[in-house]
């Protein structure tokens, strides 16, 4: 399972310009697959943990508002974007950190397609 996820993630990451890092992360914050393109692995691990908490918190908040399916979150910062997307009904999410060079629409589309492929192996 992790090696299949790694392969899919690598293929997905190739389709994004300006990619800094991408990961498949469990809700416990542990990566099962990761691609790194300029971000230190310590920083990526730290991102994985913190965004697991962010995703959990958003999901819980939306559930309490009666929204049953939370799919994606997008964070914009001065250096780019971080997109995180749940993978099917699994307990994993796909995260991508990209620079401002990336085309946001493309990143979102690639993340959606990647998450669908990953859902088949997780």
């Amino acid at each position: 399972m992790p090696s299949q996820a790694q392969q899919i993630l690598q293929e997905t990451a190739k389709e994004v310009d300006g990619l800094l890092a991408a990961g498949v992360v469990g809700m416990d914050g542990i990566h099962i697959a990761q691609v790194n393109n300029g971000m230190s692995s310590e920083a990526q691990d730290s991102y994985g943990v913190k965004f697991a908490l962010v995703m959990s918190l958003i999901r819980k908040s939306l559930t309490e508002l009666g929204i049953s399916k939370f799919e994606e979150s997008l964070v914009e910062h001065d250096g780019g974007w971080v997109i995180t997307r749940f993978i099917g009904n699994s307990n994993f999410y796909l995260g991508m950190a990209v620079s401002k060079d990336a085309v946001l629409g493309n990143v979102r589309m690639v993340a959606k397609k990647g998450a669908e492929k990953l859902a088949g192996v997780l």
Binding site: M27, D28, G29, I30, D45, L53, M55, S56
Partner: protein, 157 residues
């Protein structure tokens, strides 16, 4: 007025209540991701054990790390009566903790709705040691072992 001994017991009880309350709050908010919160706690505990208390944790493989951290929790902290590796292969390791001082707290947490006692310091320091010393990032799980008044810690790689 309470005796000094009673004050100490009351103080410990109060700390346990605070931990129980914090654990419940975190678990209600984050569910399974509560484990993620504990990465930082495990890292900090490991650093304190190594730097401030001068305890040496530097195994060269998973087996040695688990044995070493387990030994410290038994011999230096008296946190448990016995800690041993029950199963081990390339993909996972299972550690049994017997006579754990956190057992009653874990039971109280479970009663309040915290399914898994993710605050376990033994589990979190073991995971932190593997991350820091071996570059391994295990998924962790903890289950009660009532017969031993302890727990089963599972590390999956």
């Amino acid at each position: 007025m309470a005796t000094e001994e009673q004050k100490k017991r009351n103080l410990v009880r109060m700390y346990k209540l605070v931990i129980e309350g914090l654990a419940k709050g975190l678990y209600d908010l984050f569910g399974e991701s509560s484990y993620a919160v504990m990465h930082a706690v495990g890292d900090d505990l490991l650093e304190i054990m190594q730097k401030e208390m001068g305890l040496e944790i530097g195994g060269e493989n998973v087996h040695e790390e688990l044995i070493e951290v387990g030994r410290l929790f038994v011999d230096e902290f008296g946190f448990a009566d016995k800690i041993e590796i029950a199963e081990e292969d390339d993909g996972h390791a299972v550690v049994h903790v017997d006579g754990c001082h956190g057992y009653n707290l874990s039971k109280a947490m479970k009663k309040s709705g915290v399914e898994h006692p993710f605050t376990c310091p033994i589990m979190n320091v073991m995971a932190a040691a593997m991350r820091k010393n071996l570059g391994k990032h295990p998924h962790v799980a903890i289950d009660a072992r009532d017969d031993a008044r302890g727990s089963k810690l599972t590390f999956t790689f």
